[in-house]
Every structure is written in structure tokens, then in C-alpha cells.
Amino acid sequence: MILVVAEQKDGRLNRASWETVAAAQALAAGTAPITVAVFGHDVAGAAADLAAADVAAVWAVSHEALASYTPDAYVTAVADVVAQLQPTYVCLPHTYQTRDFAPVLAARLDRALVTDITGLVRRDGAVLFTRPMFQGKLVAEVAADGPAPHLLSWQIGAFRADAAARGAGAPVTTRAAGIDPAAFRQQAEPPFQEAKAAVDLSQAERIVAVGRGIKAQEHVALAEKLAQAFGAELAASRPICDNGWLPMERQIGSSGQTVAPKLYVAIGISGAIQHLVGMKGSRTIVAINKDADAPIFEVADYGIQGDLFELAPAIIAELGAS
């Protein structure tokens, strides 16, 4: 069977949990039962949400000491559930939290952990996991070695949350976590938000990037409107930042930031290789350029050859209307 470790905060499920369910379902391919476990203190609501998934069971694993995350608490709680269920695979979403405790869990269980998985491949009777290597320059097919369970953390967005099959309603059981808080070494203070001085494009889900095709500084405002219409952050290729039309923090490329958002819209960008290396990992790439030969079209999923000064307003209007 496959165990999915869902993630919640303050009773609300992290959307990545649904992605992990979808991944587990793809891995199971209908032949292995899936149990989803959610850990925390007040997790009844989250567990009830998860029951809508097409899985065999949902466990709400609860303990006061799990109310806020610490690695010791979660490692022992999950290890306890693993001991009970004896799964073949343990699937987790590759979140900051998972990155914090999953390797320790793997070490404590003395089992393989494959992280940041983008997909799975079946070959010669074995399951292989694809993951990026060398900062995304290469894709690796990786096998996990050693005895079960194998721990797998799935890259955010590798599977779509709405791809998780829904079912008739899985049974939910509440269990007390088998943990001893006295042994926990870390203490966590409440999380807080910091007003970041700099723009962090690497966290943006959508980006509209503008290049030389915008021609003049006064037209950058059009790109800004387009970004707003998409609900996206505004970024730029190097020449725009070199000119001072946008600050350096908004630069994408080998001398700027590397991003991989869900949606990347490149307007008036030719696609010089220095720019491409900064964005070609984006999930969906849209390119708008006057030049049909521009290299950007080689990496774009959708391309429009045309005048951005006509297309951008049209897209803004279309997005506003729908």
C-alpha cells in the first residue's frame, strides 16, 4: 500500500497535498490501496476534505504536540504511522516542511528517499522517478534502492491538484499520534511574515517578462498592465534592466534570476540563450514577438507572431472580460 503524508497549517490543507494524492494514484495505477494521513492537532476538517479523494482510507493523526511543526514531532509521528501501515511507498509534497523532516525520517527508518520528483516512468518492471539535476540543466531517471518503504517527495506542481481522482468518500479514522513530546529537542516560535525589500520572482506563480520589443521606457506601463491582468509579477530581460527601465531584481537570465513559474509570458523578448536559461523550466511558456525566427519560439508552448502593441491590449481586454 501507499501512504500519503498530507500537509496542513492551522487546520487548512496545503494544496500540494492534493497534488501528492494525484501522484500516489498515478504510482498505484489502481493496484495498491492508498491511505492519506494528515498530522496536526485540530485536523478533523482537513481529514474530512481529504475523504473526498479516491483513496482507501484517511487517517487524522492528532496530538497537541503536533499543533505546530517541529522536525522531531513530525518524524516520530510519521515513523509511527509507517510502522503501523508498512507501506511500499511514502509520498510527501516537496514543501519547505517536508524538506526539513523527510531526510531525517529516511535516516531514522534507514530507507531511501528520492526528493523533488517531477514524474514517474515504468521500465522493465521497475518504477523510476524523474527529477532535475545540475540546477535543472539535466533530467535524471532515478531508482530507489534498498528495502521498502521508499520515501518520495513530489515537486510542487508536478501533478495537478485537480488531477486527484475523487471517490465515493473514504473512511476517516482519528488516531492519537504515538509520540513522546518530552523527547523533542526543538521548540518553534510562531511563524511571521517579513516585508521583503527585494522582489522575489522565484516565488511568483505567474510572470510577465518584457524585452527589447517594448522599444521605449514609456511602454513598460503596457507590460505592467498586462502583468496585472494576468495576476502576474513583472520581470524583464537584461537589456531592459541595463537601460534602467526596470530594476535589476526583475531581471531573468544567467545574470539575473532563474524562475520556473506555472505561467511565463514573454513579450518582445527574442530569447537569447542567456535569457532562456533563466526561464525555460517554466510550466507553460507564452511568447509574443514580431519575429517568427526569434529563438524564444523554440521553448514556447504557445506563440503569437505579431505586434505586441496590438496583442497586449487585446489580451488585457480578453482577460478582463472573462
Partner: protein
């Protein structure tokens, strides 16, 4: 913050073949002759040895055999021996193979090498011998006191574009030495300053070419390893000096390169574009078919020969290698000469330090040694050849033939001209046809399979510079913004292989934009700008191209 100081006996500026040969020779002398251990320091602007080393390259192993007799046992990376030589003259689609390979182009006994790997290997020998190799320290200025060279100051690190600190700041260090050996390569910026300050310029002006090189991986059976091909002709015209090389290395690795003399007349000539166009010739395209570009690089090379050497010594200083213009442009070889000059400088420097006398008179022993050495034996007979090419390819070739036969006997030494003075004005060269010379066309070809644009080439040079630092190209832009356009059409945009120079339209008119972080440190701009208003200085140490395998 306080500036670091270091006192040594001998400072070597530049960890290329000349500088490292000097360092290694010094350790050998130390061992042979004993006495107080010498304090030796080598500084280089590259992050690691070999990162900025680029050459074809064909190594004449004679000097290596003298310096490190057991070089084979020590694992010197001599990839393969030359097995076949040929020279072709190319027309637009035709090729004509010279029935006999002219002697300067024969390479029996020579090796196809990667200079970068070779320099890496030399650096390991130098470090194993206990010499301090300070990589990532760029020389900034020559320290002169009472007319004598007393050392070098390295550049500050951590300064932002505006001049304010970017983060942690490390002021440049003063390295003081009894003898400083200048081995900073072709158009070395410190040697240039030294020559100016101490008036070491020779009677004959230095002359240069630009070499552009690519590494390719092609199907392994395409060319046998050790195959050496040189071409003349297409796409260069009779009035232009240059040609190409193709050297086959093991495992399908190919070194292919193109040299253009930096003394051309056409102000709009673009050496990078010429190189790309050269690859479209059917003969060349066939060789590269199905292959993959691995690396790109560019570097100037000294072409003027024996007579263009500067005065090689002054109080406290010696000049070696490419910085002294010791390249045999007829044989297209300079590594063995650089190494030889480094060894001879080491001999002189060692004696000077032991004698406690680093005066110009004492150091002149180096020049005496050069004159008695294989360096002069090789360079003197061909001292006029490159200058003869100034009269056109046919005259040059004929002269070269003559020089071979007569051993270089000629009544008078031919005088060359600084290459940038031979660039003709637009109106003069193209007539009074009105044209906007910043049109993107101009014979640029880039299909991204066989040929590439400059920006892609820069990417393949592995160039890295901190963006937030003062630009390292010092340009008197009032010239760019006034007369250069009408007179020459902004040739910097053309001759820079890395797209560092761009003229962009602004509301205030055409302005020069410097993409300084693209720079591959080739020095072409410092050499070829017709007004002489560009000065290349070293950017922050540890940056620049990454010429793995070049």
C-alpha cells in the same frame, strides 16, 4: 580598510605558459644552486589556472623538453601528435589544396594540445614545487619608486558600480618584489602601462590579430586525431590578413579557429561574423556536420614578430611571452617561445636577486640571453614577414617564401604600422553612399546549428562577471557620440566578438552602452579602436571566461 602588503623576491604577473615556466625554472635554480630560499609569488586575474588560456594549439615541445625532461611521465596533457598537415586556399565554394605544405605549416613532431589544460598541468607542477600561485588577483597598477619597478598593486574587490561597497570589500594588495616579471599576455594591460611609464616602446609598433576559436564535438570518424588543416582565403579578401585552423583531437573533439589581422581597412569588418561565414564554406560545413558546439573563445595574438618586441628590461622588471610579442606568426606558434623567454627571465632574475642588484644594467642580461637563444634564432629570419603582408596577401606570401629561402636576409627592416591606423574612414572606403551603418545586416549569419550570434558565443565562453562593479572598459565616449559614427560607423560594435559595445538610440541621440560583463578579455578593443580612446583594465579578479578545454 587596510591594504594588504606582501614582500617577495620575485613577482610573476600572469600564470600563462611564460609566467609558469619562469616560476618553475626559478624553483629548479633554487634546487641546483641552493642558498636562502627565494620568496616567489605568481598572480593571475583568472579564477583558476587555464581559465583564460586560449590557443589553437600546436605545441612545439622543444622548450618543454628542456624545462621538464620527464614531461610525459609527469602526465603532461599532450593530447596527440600531429599526423597530417595540409593547407587549403578557399574560394567562396571552391577549395584548392596546396600540393606541398609550406615548411612553416609542417608540424612533424608537434602536438595538438589544449592550452588551457596544458596551463592547468603546468600550474600543478609549479604548486607542487612550493610556489604560491595567487589566482583571482588581477594586477591593477605597476608600483614605481624612484624610477624603478618595485612591484604591483592588485585590484580592489567588492566595489559596486557606483563606487560604493557592494558587500564585503577587500582593497587591492601591494606585492613588492625585487624583480617583477611581466607575463600578462597579449596586450597585457600592466605591460602596456609599464611600457608607457618607462618608455620601453620599440622602434617598430606592435601588430596584432584576433583569434576566434570554437571547440566542437563531431562524429569520431570524421577526422583522424592529429589532422592539422590550415586555410587561407574565403571569406577574407586579398587586402586582409588571416586564415583558419582546424585541429583534430581524440574522441571527435575538434579545435576550429579563425584569425583576422587587426590592420584591416574596412571599418565595418566583423571578425566574428567572418568566422561564422567561414564555417558555411562547404568544405568546413562538411567537417562540422552533425557536430555540436562545445565552447567559444576569442583572444588577440601578437603578429608583428621580432622587431616589435619592447625593451625587455628596466630597473626591477622583465617582460616575457606574448606581452613581449614573442610569437612566430609565420609558424603560428608562440607557446614554446613564451616558455623559453620565461626560463631565460628566471635565470636573469635569480642572478639579480642573489647579487642584490635588480638594476636595468643587471637585468639586461635577459636581453643578451634572448639574443643568443632559440627565440632570436627562430624569430629573426621572419622578422619582416608580417609587415610584408601589409602590402597584401600575395606580396606577403611571396615575401614569406623568400624569407624561408634567404634566412630572412633583406636590406632593410620593413616598418609596420599600428593596425588601427590602417582602418579607413567610411566615406573613403565605401564612397559617399549614404547608409545607416547600424543596420543589423552586414553579413551576419546565425542559423544556431552551424553558425551563431555573438550573444550565443558569449554564453559558450562561460563568461562570468559580477554585474555590479565599475565597468572595466575606459572609453572617451565624447568621441563615440560625436565623430565616430560619421567617420567610422562605430567599428567597436563590429570588432568586439562579445557584443560588449552597443550603440543604442535614446531620446538624447545615439549612446554607447557597455555590456561589460560579456567581455572575454580578448583585448581587441584596446588594440583596434581607430581613435585609441578605449583602455582595457582588469575587472574584479576571479572573473572572465572559463576556457575549459580550449
Amino acid at each position: 580598510m587596510e591594504r594588504e602588503t606582501l614582500d617577495v623576491d620575485i613577482l610573476i604577473v600572469g600564470a600563462g605558459p611564460a609566467g609558469l615556466s619562469a616560476a618553475l625554472r626559478l624553483t629548479q635554480l633554487q634546487q641546483q644552486k641552493g642558498g636562502d630560499p627565494l620568496a616567489i609569488a605568481v598572480i593571475d586575474k583568472a579564477r583558476e589556472a587555464g581559465a583564460h588560456s586560449l590557443s589553437g594549439a600546436l605545441l612545439d615541445p622543444s622548450t618543454l623538453a628542456d624545462l621538464v625532461p620527464d614531461f610525459a611521465a609527469k602526465g603532461a596533457p599532450l593530447a596527440c601528435e600531429v599526423t597530417a598537415d595540409s593547407v587549403y586556399v578557399l574560394g567562396e565554394t571552391s577549395k584548392f589544396r596546396l600540393p606541398v605544405t609550406p615548411p612553416p605549416f609542417t608540424n612533424h613532431g608537434n602536438y595538438v594540445i589544449s592550452l588551457s589544460q596544458f596551463v592547468k598541468w603546468m600550474a600543478r607542477q609549479v604548486e607542487a614545487a612550493g610556489v604560491d600561485l595567487f589566482m583571482g588577483f588581477a594586477g591593477q597598477s605597476v608600483l614605481i619608486e624612484d624610477g624603478a619597478v618595485v612591484g604591483v598593486r592588485t585590484g580592489d574587490r567588492g566595489i559596486g558600480k557606483s563606487g560604493a561597497p557592494r558587500g564585503a570589500v577587500e582593497p587591492g594588495a601591494d606585492i613588492r618584489a625585487k624583480v617583477t616579471i611581466f607575463a600578462d599576455g597579449v596586450r597585457g594591460h600592466l605591460t602596456k602601462e609599464l611600457i608607457r611609464q618607462r618608455q620601453l616602446g620599440g622602434a617598430h609598433p606592435a601588430q596584432f590579430g584576433i583569434g576566434l576559436k570554437e571547440l566542437w564535438d563531431v562524429p569520431k570518424d570524421r577526422l583522424a586525431p592529429g589532422t592539422v588543416i590550415h586555410t587561407l582565403g574565403y571569406p577574407l579578401r586579398q587586402e586582409e590578413f588571416g586564415g583558419s585552423w582546424i585541429y583534430a583531437m581524440p574522441e571527435g573533439r575538434l579545435s576550429i579557429g579563425f584569425v583576422v589581422g587587426l590592420d584591416y581597412h574596412d571599418p565595418l569588418l566583423d571578425p566574428h561574423a567572418a568566422f561564422q561565414r567561414f564555417k558555411t564554406h562547404p568544405f568546413i560545413a562538411d567537417i562540422l556536420r552533425g557536430g555540436q558546439l562545445v565552447r567559444f573563445g576569442a583572444k588577440a595574438l601578437p603578429e608583428g614578430g621580432w622587431n616589435t618586441q619592447p625593451r625587455l628590461h628596466t630597473d626591477g622588471a622583465l617582460i616575457v611571452g606574448d606581452a613581449a610579442n614573442f610569437v612566430n606568426s609565420m609558424r603560428l606558434k608562440g607557446i614554446h617561445l613564451a616558455m623559453r623567454s620565461g626560463m631565460l627571465a628566471a635565470d636573469t632574475a635569480f642572478d639579480a636577486v642573489r647579487a642584490g642588484d635588480a638594476s636595468d644594467a643587471r637585468l639586461s642580461a635577459y636581453k643578451t640571453a634572448i639574443d643568443a637563444s632559440a627565440v632570436k634564432q627562430e624569430l629573426y629570419p621572419v622578422r619582416n614577414v608580417h609587415q610584408a603582408f601589409g602590402y597584401g596577401t600575395y606580396v606577403g606570401a611571396a615575401f614569406a617564401g623568400l624569407a624561408m629561402v634567404t634566412g630572412g636576409r633583406w636590406p632593410e627592416d620593413l616598418h609596420g604600422h599600428p593596425g588601427h591606423t590602417r582602418m579607413r574612414r567610411l566615406a573613403d572606403y565605401y564612397g559617399l553612399v549614404k547608409r545607416d551603418v547600424l543596420q543589423a545586416s552586414n553579413a551576419v549569419v546565425a542559423d544556431r546549428v552551424l553558425t551563431f550570434d555573438k550573444v550565443t558565443s558569449v554564453h559558450h565562453a562561460g563568461v562570468h562577471h559580477e554585474e555590479d562593479q565599475p565597468p572595466h572598459l575606459r572609453v572617451q565616449t565624447d568621441v563615440c557620440h560625436s565623430v565616430c559614427g560619421p567617420e567610422f560607423g562605430h567599428p567597436c560594435v563590429k570588432f568586439c566578438p562579445a557584443n560588449v559595445y552597443e550603440m543604442i538610440e535614446t531620446p538624447a541621440g545615439r549612446r554607447l552602452q557597455l555590456n561589460a560583463s560579456n567581455c572575454v578579455h580578448c583585448k581587441t578593443c584596446d588594440i583596434m579602436d581607430p581613435y585609441g580612446v578605449i583602455t582595457w583594465v582588469a575587472p574584479e579578479g576571479g572573473e572572465g571566461p572559463q576556457y575549459d578545454g580550449m
